[in-house]
């Protein structure tokens, strides 16, 4: 059966005493006809690509195709030991920007769920997995959890910036990562649900305002915030903090906020910082001026 709500998958998991990833894997296997092993293998391939993009982006400055950005992940990584935010948050945030830097340089990434938000899930899972000494297999399973949460958000709201703003891309990625971080840390399915709700609420209303329409400014830094927030949301949920509003209602609200946002604030580069004086000047410089 397909799970259309977080409530359904959380209740099924808890009734079976299973993880969300176990239930999701079983469901996916039934729906696609692929065995659980085959699904895990396919996801392990995606995980390899994620790991490569992280290590590329933190080991050197990679300029974007437009020249507008580059090296954000690398620079923050240099400050992991001395920064104010603490090692876990700093590592995750550096890695998130590292993947976004690779994306902006025409490198190979995994859309997760989109290219614009591709840094958040890899960075959170790799960082949390590393801190907890988890195996690659555990992290691949956690990716299954992120995917099923993403699927439920896609059914009930949207994952596209053009439809729902940045909250739909980076917000969803952050929520998906938060659920998986809880699972990796040994939290319950219900705590994963609260982490999704808390992360989505933290980023609700965030607009999509890319300067010159490119996936760079402010997207790369927003990937860092999405990653940091996912970890904080997971910690809150595991401390027993609950979302007053049930997670499925939060997801629906995010979708409705997305619909209510004016088109200027949904990937059209007509509002927000894209419409700032400097944003417009950069746009003129980067776009074909005769258009």
């Amino acid at each position: 059966m397909t799970f259309f709500t977080m409530k359904e998958i959380i209740e099924t998991s808890e009734r079976k005493g299973a993880k969300i990833s176990d239930v999701a894997l079983e469901m996916e296997s039934k729906e696609t006809g692929l065995s659980a092993d085959e699904i895990m293998k396919k996801m392990a391939y995606n995980y390899e690509i994620m790991k490569n993009s992280v290590s590329q982006g933190i080991s050197k400055i990679i300029p974007s195709i437009s020249g507008l950005t580059g090296g954000e992940g690398y620079r923050l990584w240099q400050n992991v030991k001395n920064g104010l935010s603490g090692e876990t948050i700093l590592k995750a945030s550096s890695r998130a920007m590292a993947v976004s830097n690779v994306n902006a340089s025409m490198g190979r990434i995994v859309a997760s769920p989109t290219a614009g938000s591709c840094g958040i899930i890899p960075s959170v899972l790799i960082t949390v997995g590393e801190k907890l000494g988890k195996s690659d297999n555990d992290i691949v399973k956690a990716l299954i959890t992120t995917a099923v949460v993403g699927k439920i958000i896609a059914y009930n709201a949207t994952l596209a910036g053009a439809e729902g703003g940045c909250q739909a891309e980076c917000g969803s990625a952050s929520a998906m990562a938060a659920a998986a971080a809880v699972e990796l840390a040994g939290g319950t399915p219900s705590q994963s649900g609260h982490a999704v709700a808390i992360a989505l609420k933290g980023i609700m209303g965030l607009i999509c305002d890319p300067v010159a329409g490119l996936v760079e400014v402010p997207c790369i830094k927003r990937n860092a915030f999405g990653a940091a927030q996912a970890i904080l949301a997971a910690d809150m949920a595991m401390a027993g903090i609950e979302s007053v509003i049930p997670v499925d209602e939060v997801i629906k609200a995010m979708g409705e906020v997305g619909h209510a946002l004016p088109v200027e604030l949904k990937e059209t580069a007509m509002g927000g910082i894209a419409a700032s004086e400097t944003g417009k000047n950069l746009e003129k410089k980067l776009m074909r001026e005769d258009m």
Partner: protein
């Protein structure tokens, strides 16, 4: 939708619509033409024209017509690679505002004897739609195996093709027919579940009312 639509696809950044989708459009154009070519004239419209440079749309389309997939790390170098192959690539840019989808490209490929002009758009998430082949309006995504037939608009041809496919145990998923005018040339797009056999081109082209068959498999 399966979980790999959410965590995936693996692609070359930065944009699923402007990079991955552009590469898929190029690859589909290559498959539809199905012949060797030495020149490609590419027109980018609207958002593809305006923001295409920063998104590598030009490189991605060229990569696609060279046969690269959207996750090929050589996409970045596609224009240099096309030169190595001796393929001349010309770009132009147009703003048609609302007349076409924001992310539209028109690709004209020049082979030894034939040329073909293919227009399509990138719908988002890497999905694309071919909208025009040599002036025939069409709508197909390339997500299925596709048989394209350029034929005379006269009775019996659709039935002939359909019965040929039935005999080959090929199930038709979707089908669309368009023509320029009554009795003139027509274009038929057939999307199939199974991969059509290699012989389909030769067999169907032997019918006097069918001028050209193109098979683009997934």
């Amino acid at each position: 939708m399966n979980i790999f639509d959410i965590i995936g696809p693996v692609m070359i950044g930065p944009s699923s619509s402007h990079t991955a989708g552009a590469a898929r459009l190029g690859k589909l154009a290559r498959n539809i033409f199905g012949e060797e070519f030495f020149q490609a004239d590419i027109i980018l419209y609207n958002s593809f024209a305006k923001t295409g440079k920063g998104h590598g749309t030009d490189k991605a389309i060229v990569a696609g017509i060279l046969g690269m997939e959207p996750d090929d790390e050589n996409i970045k170098k596609a224009i240099e690679i096309s030169r190595e192959f001796g393929i001349e690539v010309n770009f132009s840019f147009e703003d048609l505002k609302r007349e076409v989808h924001p992310n539209t490209a028109r690709i004209k490929l020049y082979g030894k004897e034939n040329t073909m002009t293919i227009s399509g758009c990138s719908l988002g998430g890497g999905r694309v739609m071919i909208q025009d082949i040599d002036g025939f309006k069409t709508e197909f995504t390339g997500e299925f195996n596709t048989i394209i037939s350029i034929q005379r608009d006269k009775p019996g041809i659709v039935a002939y093709v359909a019965s040929y496919l039935a005999q080959s145990n090929i199930n038709i998923a979707q089908m669309k027919l368009s023509r320029k005018s009554k009795g003139d040339m027509a274009l038929m797009i057939i999307e199939t579940d199974e991969i059509p056999p290699k012989s389909v081109k030769r067999d169907l082209e032997s019918h006097e009312g069918i001028y050209k068959i193109v098979v683009a498999t997934v």
